[in-house]
């Protein structure tokens, strides 16, 4: 039986956060199964044993039995109190981040996860962490509710606009684990995936060093990195294929029809406006689902992005 319940759970890759949960999962399953077998057996046994023989069957009058009533109220009550205590202590552990935890900032937005590290390194949909060290992910949302869920670590927390939330875990083996968004957030909710990549500690330091220092290069190169990091390509293709938003291919100086029937030629000002306030001039045939970037990108960054977009033909 234990093997069935093991099969039901994903691999446990963060024992410090997952062990208590898994233990309780097994315990509740086992107790439930005992009760369910008892109930099912009683149902089937009674159905055969007391099958109606004739319409004149006489049945005894058994109105109640206090001893029985108390027994089957108190025993389940005791069991669920154990379950409550066990679940509570496991949950306290999930809330209590170890003091030496390594902090990573995460931002969720439709439909990407952005991760920021202490030295300015940024990643899109890839959470790089060292093995064997507690990690605290501090999360915020740019638009609607999201939820950050790593099944392998048994951690999950909603990502709420206007407040910070966090999860912590400690991966004990190198490799990859999937991150799901588990709070419905629109069209591509089910594609808002990311992965945790667990490195050996030295390897992680190297990776961090290599990616630190932020965005560099010519304006076009910087613009390309920004577009990649901001996850623009989740909705806007660079090869002309149809996605949730208009393609970037050949966008410069293109004449666009808008939802209100008017037309606009794509120039610097249109791109700037569409990044900062995407809802103002929506291209016909598309919906207004993009999160506004007002206050999130600097003027220089927007200029670099425009320079990059000019080059996509």
């Amino acid at each position: 039986m234990g093997r069935l319940f093991d099969f039901m759970l994903p691999e446990n890759k963060s024992p410090l956060t997952a062990d208590s949960t898994d233990g309780l999962f097994h315990f509740i399953n086992e107790v439930s199964l005992i009760f369910l077998i008892g109930i099912t057996f009683a149902l089937i046994y009674f159905a055969f044993k007391y099958k109606r023989k004739s319409e004149d069957d006489k049945t005894p009058v058994i109105t109640h039995n206090n001893t029985l009533e108390i027994t089957w109220s108190v025993i389940p009550l005791l069991i669920v109190m154990v379950i409550f205590g066990w679940g509570y202590s496991g949950w306290l552990n999930l809330k209590a981040v170890p003091n030496d935890a390594y902090e990573i900032q995460a931002t969720g937005y439709k439909w990407n996860w952005n991760f920021n590290y202490e030295n300015g390194a940024q990643t899109l949909n890839e959470l790089h962490v060292p093995k064997g060290r507690p990690i605290k992910v501090v999360m915020q949302s740019r638009d609607v509710l999201h939820s950050f869920f790593i099944p392998d670590y048994r951690v999950k927390h909603d990502v709420v606009p206007g407040r910070y939330t966090y999860v912590w875990f400690q991966a004990e083996e190198t490799g990859e684990s999937i991150i799901f968004c588990t709070e419905y957030c629109g069209t591509s909710h089910s594609d808002m995936l990311a992965k945790v990549i667990v490195h050996e500690p030295e390897e992680f330091e190297q990776w961090l060093e290599l990616n630190g220092g932020g965005i560099q290069g010519s304006p076009v190169e910087q613009g390309e990195q920004l577009v990649t990091l901001q996850g623009c390509q989740t909705c806007h293709s660079v090869d002309g294929s149809e996605m949730i938003g208009p393609s970037f291919k050949g966008i410069w100086q293109r004449e666009q029809q808008l939802t209100d029937g008017s037309t606009v030629v794509v120039d610097e000002n249109y791109i700037r406006e569409s990044i900062l306030y995407p809802g103002n001039k929506v291209v016909a045939g598309y919906q207004n689902v993009m999160s506004p970037y007002e206050g999130r990108l600097s003027d220089d960054e927007i200029t670099n992005i425009i320079e990059y977009l000019k080059t996509i033909n």
Binding site: F7, M8, L9, P10, T21, L24, I28, N29, F35, L36, A42, L43, F46, A47, Y50, K51, R52, D57, T59, V61, I62, T63, H64, N65, L68, E69, W72, P76, V80, I83, F84, W86, G87, Y88, G90, W91, L94, D143, V144, L145, S147, P151, R154, V155, K156, H157, D158, P161, G162, T165, F180, C181, T182, E183, Y184, C185, G186, T187, S188, S190
Partner: protein, 579 residues
């Protein structure tokens, strides 16, 4: 109290009579024509109209479920786009909850049966009853208007800020629809509470109230107390949407978690609005088909009330990952376990009722057995989700989806099917095909488990809910689930077939085909317009199966409904002295 009650009974002079078989006149023949139905104040006709409406929405939302399961046959696109999928699951959930589960048992079966079990001619406010039906229809029209104006894809929970973020005019229409629908629910609840208090026939003391009535009583209390909160919440949401007043949307200075508190303050008790009336049906059917007094009458009756009250205090268990305060989370988890106890007590009492009974496995009883198995699984997995640390892992995965389908479909819907088959002869005067009914019940059992058991496994493995696309490892589970849903679809079509067929060619039902001791079976099938020829005097309890059937004839007060024993006429045949 008991002594004065007994005194009154001993001086009560009644004569007994049997209901006539195959009446020439009944509520269906009484007023004919569309206009007569539309303006009727007869609780039975209103119940039937509710039943038709609920069946319509169930068919529609069930069809959507089949479409959703078909889409999930493969990861990514099978035959519809992501946006369509998102709208369909929202519609499936909203319709099943607001248009099917909430009104199904109270407004459809309850309307028909409640006054009959009380020996009343109608509910206390018959016109209000008709009004609640029209309000329900108005709510439905608004929902269809929402579809016409571009649809909505927020999920049936309408979580902010997604729902207030300009996701189409559809959201405003559908929330107004739900707002209107709530009044229908409140009016039905008010009507039932009044009817139970004021219109019980002479002899129906509180300790002789059928357990179905206790369950509807508990349900009505929740409907009256909880539904207004939903109305207020939805009104605030509409204000925010239309006038940009910041209540829930952080961009306007609001708090999205506040919305979740408001929403679940209604929607958790609403779960009990959906399931508690089902408990009532189970008690009636299990007693009738095991021909035995219900074990633990008071335990079952009072546990319904306990569930109704504790059910108000557990809403936060939907929000363990939301960021609500740690203290709140702890308290909500604790109370959640407490609400499980009265539910468990009921299951044990029902099983104890079977002990030494005379069990006849007719279709309604078969559904009760299916209910007890499926609902137990629903309950145990509820304990799993109530445990804080485990819920963190399972929240918003398919485990939750499977859990609430085991409770709502394995619980409420199986109880509804039990009740529908049980009272079908009374409501229509016709018998359905027993063989087909049993075949479809078995198909439902197989199809249901095939659909939802795999969802427990993939949920535990991490498959999130409301996913259009999924990772490959979940494919076998999704495909098993989809096949199961097709079996369910076929089973429901068979039910539709034999029920409709019974209306036109079915065998005529006798007034009491199951030899039940319930008061509603002491009238003709179908009942007369006023249910009983005279206000009945109830001599025996609804579960007195130890008494011979002959004793179960209606007592008829000779004058003044039995309240005025001095002025009895001389027509008395027999004086009843049982208390």
């Amino acid at each position: 109290m008991a002594i004065t009650e007994a005194k009154k009974m001993t001086t009560l002079q009644v004569k007994r009579f049997k209901p006539s078989e195959n009446p020439t006149n009944n509520y269906l023949t009484d007023e004919k024509g569309v206009w007569a139905w539309m303006t009727t104040v007869d609780h039975k006709k209103i119940g039937i109209m509710y039943l038709v409406a609920v069946a319509f929405f169930f068919a529609l939302a069930g069809f959507l479920a089949i479409a959703l399961r078909t889409e999930l046959w493969t990861p990514a696109k099978t035959f519809i786009e992501a946006d369509t999928y998102n709208q369909l699951f929202t519609l499936h959930g909203a319709m099943m909850v607001f248009f099917v589960l909430v009104p199904s048992i109270p407004a459809a079966l309850g309307n028909f049966i409640l006054p009959m079990q009380l020996g009343a001619k109608d509910v206390a406010f018959p016109r209000l009853n008709l009004a609640s039906l029209y309000i329900y229809v108005a709510g439905a029209i608004f929902t269809f208007a929402a579809l016409a104006s571009g649809g909505f894809d927020t999920g049936w929970t309408f979580y902010t800020p997604y729902s207030s973020d300009g996701n189409g005019a559809g959201v405003i229409w559908v929330t107004l629809g739900v707002f209107i629908l709530g009044f229908s629910s409140i009016l039905t609840g008010t009507n039932f509470i009044t009817t139970i208090h004021k219109l019980r026939a002479p002899g129906i003391t509180w300790d002789r109230l059928p357990l179905n009535i206790w369950a509807l009583y508990a349900t009505s209390i929740i409907q009256v107390l909880a539904t207004p909160v939903l109305a207020i919440t939805i009104l605030l949401l509409a204000f925010e949407n239309i006038m940009d007043i910041g209540i829930f949307d952080p961009a306007l200075g609001g708090d999205p978690v506040l919305f979740q508190h408001f929403f679940w303050f209604y929607s958790h008790p609403a779960v009990y609005i959906m399931i508690v009336p089902g408990f009532g049906i189970i008690s009636e059917v299990i007693s009738t088909f095991s021909k035995k007094t219900v074990f633990g009458y008071w335990a079952i009756a009072l546990s319904s009330l306990a569930i109704a009250f504790i059910g108000f205090l557990v809403w936060g268990h939907h929000m363990f990952t939301s960021g609500q305060s740690a203290v709140a989370t702890t308290v909500f988890s604790f109370l959640t376990f407490l609400v499980g106890i009265p539910t468990g007590i009921k299951i044990f009492n029902w099983i104890a009722t079977l002990y030494k009974g005379s069990i006849d496995m007719k279709t309604p009883m078969l559904y009760v057995f299916i209910f007890l198995f499926l609902f137990s699984i629903g309950g145990f997995t509820g304990i799993m989700l109530g445990a804080l640390s485990v819920d963190i892992h399972l929240h918003d995965t398919y485990y939750v989806v499977a859990h609430f389908h085991y409770v709502m479909m394995g619980g409420t819907l199986m109880a509804l099917l039990a009740g529908l088959h049980y009272w079908w002869p009374k409501m229509t005067g016709k018998m359905y095909n027993e063989t087909l009914a049993k075949i479809s019940a078995v198909l439902i059992f197989i199809g249901f488990n095939m659909t939802f058991l795999p969802q427990f496994v993939m949920g535990s493995q991490g498959m999130p809910r409301r996913y259009y696309n999924y990772i490959d490892q979940f494919t076998p589970f999704h495909q098993t689930s989809t096949i199961g849903s097709y079996i369910l679809g076929v089973a429901f079509l068979i039910i539709l077939y034999y029920l409709v067929k019974s209306l036109f060619g079915g065998e005529k039902a006798s007034s009491n085909p199951w030899n039940s001791r319930g008061l509603e079976w002491q009238s003709t099938s179908p009942p007369d317009f006023h249910n009983f020829d005279h206000t009945p005097v109830v001599i025996n309890g609804p579960y007195d199966y130890h008494k011979p059937m002959e004793e179960f004839q209606l007592g008829l007060a000779v004058s003044h409904n039995g309240h005025d024993a001095e002025h009895t006429s001389t027509e008395v045949e027999k004086t009843e002295e049982k208390a």
